[in-house]
Symmetry: C2
Subunit: 268 residues, 2 copies
Amino acid sequence: MKIALFQGPAHADSVDDALRVLADRAREAAASGARLLVCPEMFLTGYDIGVEALHRLAEPADGPSAQRAAAIARDHGIALLYGYPERERNTVWNSAMLLDASGRPLANHRKTHLFGELDRRAFAPGDRVVTTATLDGLCLAILICYEVEFPENVRLAALAGADLVAVPTALMAPYHFVSRALLATRAYENQVFVAYANRCGQEGTLEYLGASAIVAPDGAELARAGGGEELIVADVDPDAYAHSRAINTYRGDRRPELYARLASPHEP
Amino acid sequence: MKIALFQGPAHADSVDDALRVLADRAREAAASGARLLVCPEMFLTGYDIGVEALHRLAEPADGPSAQRAAAIARDHGIALLYGYPERERNTVWNSAMLLDASGRPLANHRKTHLFGELDRRAFAPGDRVVTTATLDGLCLAILICYEVEFPENVRLAALAGADLVAVPTALMAPYHFVSRALLATRAYENQVFVAYANRCGQEGTLEYLGASAIVAPDGAELARAGGGEELIVADVDPDAYAHSRAINTYRGDRRPELYARLASPHEP
Protein backbone atom coordinates (compact mmCIF):
# COMPACT_ATOMS: atom_id res chain seq x y z
CA MET A 1 0.00 0.00 0.00
CA LYS A 2 1.31 3.42 -0.92
CA ILE A 3 0.97 6.00 1.85
CA ALA A 4 1.54 9.75 1.95
CA LEU A 5 2.53 12.06 4.81
CA PHE A 6 1.79 15.75 4.81
CA GLN A 7 4.26 17.90 6.74
CA GLY A 8 2.54 21.14 7.70
CA PRO A 9 0.70 23.40 7.64
CA ALA A 10 3.31 26.03 8.39
CA HIS A 11 0.52 28.60 8.48
CA ALA A 12 -3.18 28.01 8.97
CA ASP A 13 -5.14 30.62 10.82
CA SER A 14 -8.37 28.71 11.17
CA VAL A 15 -9.99 25.30 10.95
CA ASP A 16 -11.34 26.40 7.57
CA ASP A 17 -7.78 27.04 6.38
CA ALA A 18 -6.66 23.64 7.66
CA LEU A 19 -9.53 21.87 5.91
CA ARG A 20 -8.67 23.64 2.65
CA VAL A 21 -5.07 22.42 3.02
CA LEU A 22 -6.39 18.92 3.78
CA ALA A 23 -8.48 18.90 0.59
CA ASP A 24 -5.53 20.10 -1.52
CA ARG A 25 -3.14 17.56 -0.05
CA ALA A 26 -5.67 14.73 -0.22
CA ARG A 27 -6.05 15.41 -3.95
CA GLU A 28 -2.28 15.48 -4.41
CA ALA A 29 -1.74 12.32 -2.35
CA ALA A 30 -4.49 10.41 -4.15
CA ALA A 31 -3.05 11.47 -7.50
CA SER A 32 0.28 9.94 -6.46
CA GLY A 33 -1.47 6.62 -5.84
CA ALA A 34 -1.46 6.84 -2.04
CA ARG A 35 -4.30 5.06 -0.22
CA LEU A 36 -3.74 6.91 3.08
CA LEU A 37 -2.71 10.46 3.98
CA VAL A 38 -1.24 11.00 7.46
CA CYS A 39 -1.30 14.56 8.81
CA PRO A 40 0.34 15.99 11.96
CA GLU A 41 -0.83 16.31 15.54
CA MET A 42 -3.48 18.97 16.09
CA PHE A 43 -3.62 19.44 12.34
CA LEU A 44 -7.10 20.97 12.30
CA THR A 45 -6.55 23.75 14.83
CA GLY A 46 -2.86 24.26 15.51
CA TYR A 47 -1.22 23.07 18.72
CA ASP A 48 0.55 25.84 20.66
CA ILE A 49 -2.43 28.19 20.36
CA GLY A 50 -3.34 28.35 24.06
CA VAL A 51 -5.70 26.32 26.22
CA GLU A 52 -8.63 28.65 25.66
CA ALA A 53 -8.47 28.29 21.86
CA LEU A 54 -7.91 24.53 22.01
CA HIS A 55 -10.96 24.10 24.22
CA ARG A 56 -13.09 26.46 22.16
CA LEU A 57 -12.19 24.66 18.90
CA ALA A 58 -12.52 21.13 20.31
CA GLU A 59 -15.26 19.05 18.70
CA PRO A 60 -16.78 15.63 19.18
CA ALA A 61 -15.20 12.80 17.19
CA ASP A 62 -18.18 12.99 14.83
CA GLY A 63 -18.44 16.80 14.91
CA PRO A 64 -18.78 19.18 11.96
CA SER A 65 -15.04 19.20 11.09
CA ALA A 66 -14.96 15.40 11.07
CA GLN A 67 -17.94 15.49 8.69
CA ARG A 68 -16.09 17.87 6.38
CA ALA A 69 -12.94 15.71 6.54
CA ALA A 70 -15.07 12.66 5.70
CA ALA A 71 -16.36 14.47 2.61
CA ILE A 72 -12.75 15.18 1.58
CA ALA A 73 -11.82 11.49 2.02
CA ARG A 74 -14.84 10.49 -0.08
CA ASP A 75 -14.21 13.12 -2.75
CA HIS A 76 -10.66 11.95 -3.32
CA GLY A 77 -11.04 8.28 -2.43
CA ILE A 78 -8.24 8.30 0.16
CA ALA A 79 -8.12 7.39 3.86
CA LEU A 80 -7.16 10.24 6.21
CA LEU A 81 -5.49 10.35 9.62
CA TYR A 82 -5.23 13.75 11.33
CA GLY A 83 -4.85 15.23 14.79
CA TYR A 84 -7.49 17.42 16.46
CA PRO A 85 -8.75 18.45 19.89
CA GLU A 86 -11.62 16.15 20.78
CA ARG A 87 -14.41 17.12 23.17
CA GLU A 88 -16.87 14.82 24.87
CA ARG A 89 -19.04 16.68 27.39
CA ASN A 90 -16.53 18.53 29.62
CA THR A 91 -13.41 16.58 28.70
CA VAL A 92 -10.94 17.47 25.96
CA TRP A 93 -8.39 15.02 24.55
CA ASN A 94 -5.44 15.29 22.18
CA SER A 95 -6.84 12.92 19.54
CA ALA A 96 -6.27 11.55 16.07
CA MET A 97 -9.05 10.41 13.74
CA LEU A 98 -8.74 7.78 11.03
CA LEU A 99 -11.32 7.87 8.24
CA ASP A 100 -11.41 5.34 5.43
CA ALA A 101 -11.58 6.26 1.75
CA SER A 102 -15.37 6.40 1.91
CA GLY A 103 -15.27 8.81 4.85
CA ARG A 104 -16.29 6.22 7.42
CA PRO A 105 -14.57 6.59 10.84
CA LEU A 106 -12.29 3.59 11.38
CA ALA A 107 -10.58 4.55 14.64
CA ASN A 108 -10.12 7.45 17.03
CA HIS A 109 -7.05 7.52 19.30
CA ARG A 110 -6.70 9.67 22.43
CA LYS A 111 -3.10 10.48 23.42
CA THR A 112 -2.23 8.54 26.56
CA HIS A 113 1.25 9.90 27.32
CA LEU A 114 0.95 13.66 27.65
CA PHE A 115 3.94 15.86 26.91
CA GLY A 116 4.80 18.44 29.56
CA GLU A 117 2.66 21.42 30.45
CA LEU A 118 1.78 22.00 26.80
CA ASP A 119 -0.43 18.89 26.86
CA ARG A 120 -1.27 18.71 30.54
CA ARG A 121 -2.79 22.16 30.76
CA ALA A 122 -5.14 21.44 27.86
CA PHE A 123 -5.89 17.73 27.69
CA ALA A 124 -7.05 14.73 29.68
CA PRO A 125 -4.94 11.60 29.16
CA GLY A 126 -6.41 8.77 27.12
CA ASP A 127 -6.49 5.37 28.74
CA ARG A 128 -5.99 2.96 25.81
CA VAL A 129 -2.44 2.70 24.43
CA VAL A 130 -3.24 0.64 21.36
CA THR A 131 -5.76 1.78 18.77
CA THR A 132 -5.69 -0.33 15.62
CA ALA A 133 -7.65 -0.57 12.40
CA THR A 134 -7.36 -2.58 9.21
CA LEU A 135 -6.83 -0.64 6.01
CA ASP A 136 -6.40 -2.39 2.65
CA GLY A 137 -5.45 -5.55 4.55
CA LEU A 138 -2.76 -3.78 6.58
CA CYS A 139 -3.01 -3.51 10.37
CA LEU A 140 -2.40 0.09 11.32
CA ALA A 141 -1.85 1.38 14.88
CA ILE A 142 -2.13 5.06 15.79
CA LEU A 143 0.21 6.77 18.25
CA ILE A 144 0.48 10.51 18.80
CA CYS A 145 3.86 12.27 19.03
CA TYR A 146 5.45 11.66 22.47
CA GLU A 147 3.82 8.23 22.65
CA VAL A 148 6.16 6.78 20.01
CA GLU A 149 9.15 7.74 22.15
CA PHE A 150 8.17 5.11 24.72
CA PRO A 151 9.31 1.68 23.56
CA GLU A 152 6.48 0.19 25.59
CA ASN A 153 3.82 1.76 23.36
CA VAL A 154 5.24 0.66 20.04
CA ARG A 155 5.86 -2.84 21.40
CA LEU A 156 2.24 -3.01 22.53
CA ALA A 157 1.15 -1.96 19.04
CA ALA A 158 3.35 -4.64 17.49
CA LEU A 159 2.04 -7.29 19.88
CA ALA A 160 -1.48 -6.29 18.81
CA GLY A 161 -0.46 -7.13 15.26
CA ALA A 162 0.42 -3.72 13.79
CA ASP A 163 2.25 -3.70 10.46
CA LEU A 164 2.35 0.09 10.36
CA VAL A 165 2.49 2.56 13.25
CA ALA A 166 1.18 5.92 12.02
CA VAL A 167 2.16 8.91 14.13
CA PRO A 168 0.70 12.40 13.83
CA THR A 169 3.30 14.49 15.67
CA ALA A 170 4.49 17.98 16.59
CA LEU A 171 8.19 17.55 17.27
CA MET A 172 10.02 20.71 18.19
CA ALA A 173 13.56 21.80 18.97
CA PRO A 174 15.66 20.50 20.66
CA TYR A 175 14.33 16.96 20.17
CA HIS A 176 16.03 16.22 16.81
CA PHE A 177 17.20 12.85 18.13
CA VAL A 178 13.68 11.44 18.03
CA SER A 179 13.26 11.82 14.30
CA ARG A 180 16.91 11.20 13.44
CA ALA A 181 17.54 7.95 15.36
CA LEU A 182 14.73 6.81 17.63
CA LEU A 183 12.10 6.26 14.91
CA ALA A 184 14.28 3.84 12.99
CA THR A 185 14.95 1.89 16.17
CA ARG A 186 11.22 1.58 16.86
CA ALA A 187 10.72 0.18 13.35
CA TYR A 188 13.66 -2.21 13.63
CA GLU A 189 13.07 -3.55 17.14
CA ASN A 190 9.44 -4.33 16.31
CA GLN A 191 9.80 -5.10 12.60
CA VAL A 192 7.06 -2.63 11.71
CA PHE A 193 6.80 0.42 9.47
CA VAL A 194 6.68 3.80 11.19
CA ALA A 195 5.11 6.82 9.48
CA TYR A 196 5.85 10.04 11.35
CA ALA A 197 4.07 13.18 10.10
CA ASN A 198 5.37 16.34 11.74
CA ARG A 199 4.42 19.99 11.75
CA CYS A 200 6.90 22.58 10.48
CA GLY A 201 7.61 26.27 10.93
CA GLN A 202 7.19 28.44 13.99
CA GLU A 203 4.03 28.40 16.13
CA GLY A 204 3.80 30.36 19.35
CA THR A 205 7.07 29.69 21.15
CA LEU A 206 7.72 26.42 19.32
CA GLU A 207 10.03 25.73 16.40
CA TYR A 208 8.80 22.54 14.75
CA LEU A 209 11.50 20.42 13.20
CA GLY A 210 9.84 18.97 10.11
CA ALA A 211 11.93 15.90 9.19
CA SER A 212 8.83 13.73 8.80
CA ALA A 213 9.78 10.20 7.79
CA ILE A 214 8.56 6.79 6.70
CA VAL A 215 10.85 4.08 8.07
CA ALA A 216 10.93 0.38 7.15
CA PRO A 217 11.26 -2.70 9.41
CA ASP A 218 14.96 -2.96 8.56
CA GLY A 219 15.52 0.59 9.80
CA ALA A 220 15.90 2.09 6.32
CA GLU A 221 14.33 5.47 5.55
CA LEU A 222 11.85 5.07 2.71
CA ALA A 223 11.08 8.78 2.60
CA ARG A 224 12.30 11.82 4.54
CA ALA A 225 11.02 15.39 4.46
CA GLY A 226 13.09 18.55 4.85
CA GLY A 227 12.18 21.49 7.08
CA GLY A 228 9.23 23.07 5.22
CA GLU A 229 5.80 22.09 3.93
CA GLU A 230 6.05 18.86 1.98
CA LEU A 231 4.19 15.74 0.93
CA ILE A 232 6.22 12.54 1.05
CA VAL A 233 5.16 9.15 -0.27
CA ALA A 234 6.40 5.57 0.15
CA ASP A 235 5.27 2.04 -0.40
CA VAL A 236 4.46 0.06 2.74
CA ASP A 237 4.69 -3.63 1.87
CA PRO A 238 5.36 -6.03 4.78
CA ASP A 239 6.00 -8.91 2.35
CA ALA A 240 9.05 -7.07 1.03
CA TYR A 241 10.63 -7.38 4.49
CA ALA A 242 10.35 -11.11 4.98
CA HIS A 243 14.16 -11.36 5.16
CA SER A 244 14.37 -8.66 7.84
CA ARG A 245 11.68 -10.40 9.87
CA ALA A 246 13.42 -13.76 9.48
CA ILE A 247 16.75 -12.49 10.87
CA ASN A 248 15.27 -10.19 13.56
CA THR A 249 13.14 -12.53 15.65
CA TYR A 250 12.58 -10.18 18.57
CA ARG A 251 8.89 -10.85 19.00
CA GLY A 252 9.35 -14.59 19.35
CA ASP A 253 12.46 -14.23 21.53
CA ARG A 254 10.86 -11.98 24.13
CA ARG A 255 10.59 -13.41 27.65
CA PRO A 256 7.45 -11.76 29.07
CA GLU A 257 7.66 -13.89 32.22
CA LEU A 258 10.68 -11.75 33.18
CA TYR A 259 9.01 -8.38 32.48
CA ALA A 260 6.55 -8.03 35.38
CA ARG A 261 8.34 -4.97 36.70
CA LEU A 262 7.55 -3.06 33.49
CA ALA A 263 3.88 -3.13 34.36
CA SER A 264 4.12 -2.56 38.09
CA PRO A 265 3.30 0.82 39.62
CA HIS A 266 5.96 3.50 39.66
CA GLU A 267 8.41 3.24 42.53
CA PRO A 268 10.32 6.37 43.43
CA MET B 1 34.23 7.88 36.14
CA LYS B 2 36.42 7.16 33.16
CA ILE B 3 35.76 3.79 31.53
CA ALA B 4 37.55 1.84 28.80
CA LEU B 5 36.27 -0.71 26.28
CA PHE B 6 38.49 -3.24 24.64
CA GLN B 7 37.41 -4.33 21.17
CA GLY B 8 38.94 -7.74 20.44
CA PRO B 9 40.76 -10.01 20.54
CA ALA B 10 40.83 -10.58 16.80
CA HIS B 11 42.98 -13.63 17.46
CA ALA B 12 43.35 -15.60 20.67
CA ASP B 13 43.86 -19.32 20.42
CA SER B 14 43.52 -20.16 24.08
CA VAL B 15 42.30 -18.91 27.43
CA ASP B 16 45.96 -18.22 28.26
CA ASP B 17 46.20 -15.95 25.21
CA ALA B 18 43.02 -14.14 26.20
CA LEU B 19 44.27 -13.61 29.76
CA ARG B 20 47.55 -12.18 28.41
CA VAL B 21 45.54 -9.75 26.26
CA LEU B 22 43.43 -8.89 29.31
CA ALA B 23 46.54 -8.07 31.37
CA ASP B 24 47.99 -5.90 28.58
CA ARG B 25 44.75 -4.00 28.04
CA ALA B 26 44.08 -3.61 31.77
CA ARG B 27 47.49 -1.95 32.10
CA GLU B 28 46.78 0.34 29.15
CA ALA B 29 43.28 1.21 30.38
CA ALA B 30 44.48 1.92 33.92
CA ALA B 31 47.27 4.12 32.55
CA SER B 32 44.63 6.18 30.72
CA GLY B 33 42.86 6.78 34.03
CA ALA B 34 39.99 4.35 33.43
CA ARG B 35 38.42 2.74 36.50
CA LEU B 36 36.67 -0.05 34.55
CA LEU B 37 37.60 -2.09 31.49
CA VAL B 38 34.72 -3.71 29.58
CA CYS B 39 35.61 -6.65 27.30
CA PRO B 40 33.41 -8.51 24.77
CA GLU B 41 31.11 -11.50 25.06
CA MET B 42 32.92 -14.83 25.47
CA PHE B 43 36.16 -12.89 25.76
CA LEU B 44 38.04 -15.64 27.60
CA THR B 45 37.40 -18.49 25.18
CA GLY B 46 36.05 -17.22 21.87
CA TYR B 47 32.41 -17.57 20.90
CA ASP B 48 31.87 -19.39 17.60
CA ILE B 49 34.24 -22.22 18.57
CA GLY B 50 31.68 -25.02 18.74
CA VAL B 51 29.59 -26.42 21.55
CA GLU B 52 32.15 -29.03 22.55
CA ALA B 53 34.91 -26.44 23.09
CA LEU B 54 32.58 -24.03 24.90
CA HIS B 55 31.49 -26.75 27.28
CA ARG B 56 35.02 -28.06 27.80
CA LEU B 57 36.34 -24.54 28.58
CA ALA B 58 33.41 -23.52 30.78
CA GLU B 59 34.35 -22.80 34.41
CA PRO B 60 32.54 -21.92 37.60
CA ALA B 61 32.12 -18.21 38.31
CA ASP B 62 34.96 -18.50 40.83
CA GLY B 63 37.03 -20.90 38.73
CA PRO B 64 40.76 -20.70 37.92
CA SER B 65 40.36 -18.17 35.08
CA ALA B 66 38.30 -15.88 37.31
CA GLN B 67 41.08 -16.11 39.89
CA ARG B 68 43.65 -15.09 37.28
CA ALA B 69 41.42 -12.23 36.08
CA ALA B 70 41.06 -11.10 39.70
CA ALA B 71 44.84 -10.96 40.01
CA ILE B 72 44.99 -8.79 36.87
CA ALA B 73 42.35 -6.42 38.28
CA ARG B 74 44.34 -6.19 41.52
CA ASP B 75 47.70 -5.75 39.78
CA HIS B 76 46.45 -2.80 37.75
CA GLY B 77 43.88 -1.42 40.15
CA ILE B 78 41.04 -1.50 37.62
CA ALA B 79 37.61 -3.14 37.62
CA LEU B 80 37.01 -5.71 34.86
CA LEU B 81 33.92 -6.95 33.06
CA TYR B 82 34.32 -9.82 30.60
CA GLY B 83 32.31 -12.59 28.98
CA TYR B 84 32.97 -16.30 29.52
CA PRO B 85 31.18 -19.65 29.48
CA GLU B 86 30.08 -20.42 33.02
CA ARG B 87 29.55 -23.91 34.35
CA GLU B 88 27.67 -24.93 37.46
CA ARG B 89 27.32 -28.71 37.74
CA ASN B 90 25.87 -29.80 34.37
CA THR B 91 24.60 -26.43 33.21
CA VAL B 92 26.52 -23.94 31.05
CA TRP B 93 25.55 -20.28 30.69
CA ASN B 94 26.70 -17.41 28.49
CA SER B 95 27.88 -15.19 31.35
CA ALA B 96 29.71 -11.97 32.15
CA MET B 97 31.75 -11.40 35.32
CA LEU B 98 32.35 -8.06 36.99
CA LEU B 99 35.36 -7.80 39.31
CA ASP B 100 36.22 -4.67 41.27
CA ALA B 101 39.66 -3.08 41.29
CA SER B 102 40.72 -5.29 44.17
CA GLY B 103 39.70 -8.43 42.27
CA ARG B 104 36.56 -9.03 44.32
CA PRO B 105 33.57 -10.40 42.34
CA LEU B 106 30.83 -7.74 42.27
CA ALA B 107 28.30 -9.35 39.95
CA ASN B 108 27.86 -12.23 37.55
CA HIS B 109 25.23 -12.01 34.80
CA ARG B 110 23.82 -14.95 32.84
CA LYS B 111 22.42 -14.09 29.40
CA THR B 112 18.63 -14.38 29.50
CA HIS B 113 17.76 -13.75 25.83
CA LEU B 114 19.63 -16.32 23.77
CA PHE B 115 20.53 -15.53 20.16
CA GLY B 116 19.59 -18.18 17.61
CA GLU B 117 21.14 -21.61 17.38
CA LEU B 118 24.57 -20.21 18.17
CA ASP B 119 23.49 -19.63 21.77
CA ARG B 120 20.74 -22.21 22.11
CA ARG B 121 22.89 -25.18 21.21
CA ALA B 122 25.47 -24.28 23.85
CA PHE B 123 23.81 -22.41 26.69
CA ALA B 124 20.97 -22.49 29.18
CA PRO B 125 19.05 -19.20 29.46
CA GLY B 126 19.56 -17.11 32.58
CA ASP B 127 16.45 -16.16 34.50
CA ARG B 128 17.30 -12.71 35.91
CA VAL B 129 17.21 -9.81 33.46
CA VAL B 130 18.73 -7.19 35.70
CA THR B 131 22.13 -7.65 37.32
CA THR B 132 23.46 -4.48 38.92
CA ALA B 133 26.43 -3.43 41.00
CA THR B 134 27.75 -0.18 42.38
CA LEU B 135 31.17 0.92 41.18
CA ASP B 136 32.73 4.20 42.30
CA GLY B 137 29.25 5.42 43.23
CA LEU B 138 27.83 4.61 39.79
CA CYS B 139 25.07 2.02 39.38
CA LEU B 140 26.10 -0.34 36.61
CA ALA B 141 23.85 -2.94 34.97
CA ILE B 142 25.21 -5.79 32.85
CA LEU B 143 23.51 -7.01 29.67
CA ILE B 144 25.03 -9.38 27.12
CA CYS B 145 24.81 -8.72 23.36
CA TYR B 146 21.31 -9.60 22.05
CA GLU B 147 19.79 -8.56 25.40
CA VAL B 148 20.38 -4.86 24.75
CA GLU B 149 18.35 -5.09 21.55
CA PHE B 150 15.19 -5.65 23.61
CA PRO B 151 13.90 -2.33 24.92
CA GLU B 152 12.32 -4.23 27.80
CA ASN B 153 15.70 -5.23 29.21
CA VAL B 154 17.31 -1.81 29.17
CA ARG B 155 14.16 -0.27 30.61
CA LEU B 156 14.24 -2.80 33.45
CA ALA B 157 17.88 -1.90 34.10
CA ALA B 158 16.99 1.80 34.18
CA LEU B 159 14.06 1.18 36.51
CA ALA B 160 16.48 -0.65 38.80
CA GLY B 161 18.54 2.53 38.95
CA ALA B 162 21.25 1.91 36.38
CA ASP B 163 23.36 4.91 35.33
CA LEU B 164 25.46 2.81 32.98
CA VAL B 165 24.50 -0.29 31.02
CA ALA B 166 27.66 -2.22 30.18
CA VAL B 167 27.33 -4.71 27.33
CA PRO B 168 29.90 -7.35 26.42
CA THR B 169 28.84 -8.28 22.90
CA ALA B 170 29.66 -10.23 19.74
CA LEU B 171 27.80 -8.38 16.99
CA MET B 172 28.25 -9.79 13.52
CA ALA B 173 27.19 -8.97 9.98
CA PRO B 174 24.52 -8.10 8.91
CA TYR B 175 23.39 -6.48 12.16
CA HIS B 176 25.12 -3.09 11.67
CA PHE B 177 21.92 -1.30 12.63
CA VAL B 178 22.27 -2.32 16.27
CA SER B 179 25.53 -0.50 16.81
CA ARG B 180 24.80 2.37 14.43
CA ALA B 181 21.34 3.43 15.65
CA LEU B 182 19.75 1.20 18.27
CA LEU B 183 22.36 1.74 21.00
CA ALA B 184 21.92 5.50 20.99
CA THR B 185 18.16 5.08 21.25
CA ARG B 186 18.56 2.81 24.29
CA ALA B 187 20.70 5.48 25.96
CA TYR B 188 18.31 8.30 25.06
CA GLU B 189 15.01 6.65 25.90
CA ASN B 190 16.32 5.63 29.34
CA GLN B 191 18.69 8.53 29.99
CA VAL B 192 21.55 6.13 30.75
CA PHE B 193 25.04 5.58 29.39
CA VAL B 194 25.54 2.49 27.23
CA ALA B 195 29.00 0.92 26.84
CA TYR B 196 29.04 -1.70 24.09
CA ALA B 197 32.25 -3.73 23.75
CA ASN B 198 32.31 -5.86 20.62
CA ARG B 199 34.55 -8.51 19.17
CA CYS B 200 36.26 -7.90 15.79
CA GLY B 201 37.68 -9.93 12.95
CA GLN B 202 36.57 -13.30 11.59
CA GLU B 203 35.80 -16.27 13.83
CA GLY B 204 34.38 -19.48 12.46
CA THR B 205 31.66 -18.42 10.06
CA LEU B 206 31.13 -15.06 11.75
CA GLU B 207 32.37 -11.62 10.69
CA TYR B 208 32.31 -9.43 13.80
CA LEU B 209 31.57 -5.80 13.15
CA GLY B 210 33.71 -3.98 15.71
CA ALA B 211 32.14 -0.50 16.03
CA SER B 212 32.18 -0.68 19.82
CA ALA B 213 30.79 2.49 21.35
CA ILE B 214 30.16 4.50 24.48
CA VAL B 215 26.94 6.48 24.16
CA ALA B 216 25.63 9.23 26.44
CA PRO B 217 22.09 9.85 27.76
CA ASP B 218 21.52 12.53 25.11
CA GLY B 219 22.31 10.00 22.38
CA ALA B 220 25.75 11.44 21.59
CA GLU B 221 28.65 9.09 20.87
CA LEU B 222 31.40 9.69 23.42
CA ALA B 223 33.71 7.16 21.79
CA ARG B 224 33.47 4.89 18.77
CA ALA B 225 35.86 2.17 17.62
CA GLY B 226 36.66 1.20 14.04
CA GLY B 227 36.78 -2.36 12.73
CA GLY B 228 39.95 -3.74 14.32
CA GLU B 229 41.46 -4.26 17.77
CA GLU B 230 41.17 -1.06 19.76
CA LEU B 231 40.84 0.41 23.23
CA ILE B 232 38.41 3.31 23.54
CA VAL B 233 37.90 5.50 26.58
CA ALA B 234 35.28 8.01 27.72
CA ASP B 235 34.12 9.81 30.80
CA VAL B 236 30.82 8.60 32.27
CA ASP B 237 29.42 11.41 34.42
CA PRO B 238 25.66 11.42 34.99
CA ASP B 239 25.79 14.91 36.51
CA ALA B 240 26.95 16.29 33.16
CA TYR B 241 23.59 15.22 31.68
CA ALA B 242 21.27 16.96 34.11
CA HIS B 243 19.87 19.06 31.23
CA SER B 244 19.18 15.98 29.12
CA ARG B 245 17.42 14.30 32.03
CA ALA B 246 15.39 17.43 32.75
CA ILE B 247 14.02 17.65 29.20
CA ASN B 248 13.58 13.88 28.64
CA THR B 249 11.30 12.82 31.45
CA TYR B 250 10.44 9.39 30.12
CA ARG B 251 10.81 7.52 33.38
CA GLY B 252 8.37 9.73 35.23
CA ASP B 253 5.95 9.90 32.30
CA ARG B 254 5.59 6.13 31.89
CA ARG B 255 2.11 4.70 32.53
CA PRO B 256 2.82 1.18 33.82
CA GLU B 257 -0.87 0.63 34.56
CA LEU B 258 -1.36 0.45 30.78
CA TYR B 259 1.51 -2.00 30.14
CA ALA B 260 0.13 -5.30 31.50
CA ARG B 261 0.22 -6.92 28.07
CA LEU B 262 4.02 -6.51 27.95
CA ALA B 263 4.38 -9.00 30.77
CA SER B 264 1.68 -11.45 29.78
CA PRO B 265 2.55 -14.78 28.17
CA HIS B 266 3.15 -14.90 24.45
CA GLU B 267 0.02 -15.18 22.34
CA PRO B 268 0.42 -16.51 18.83
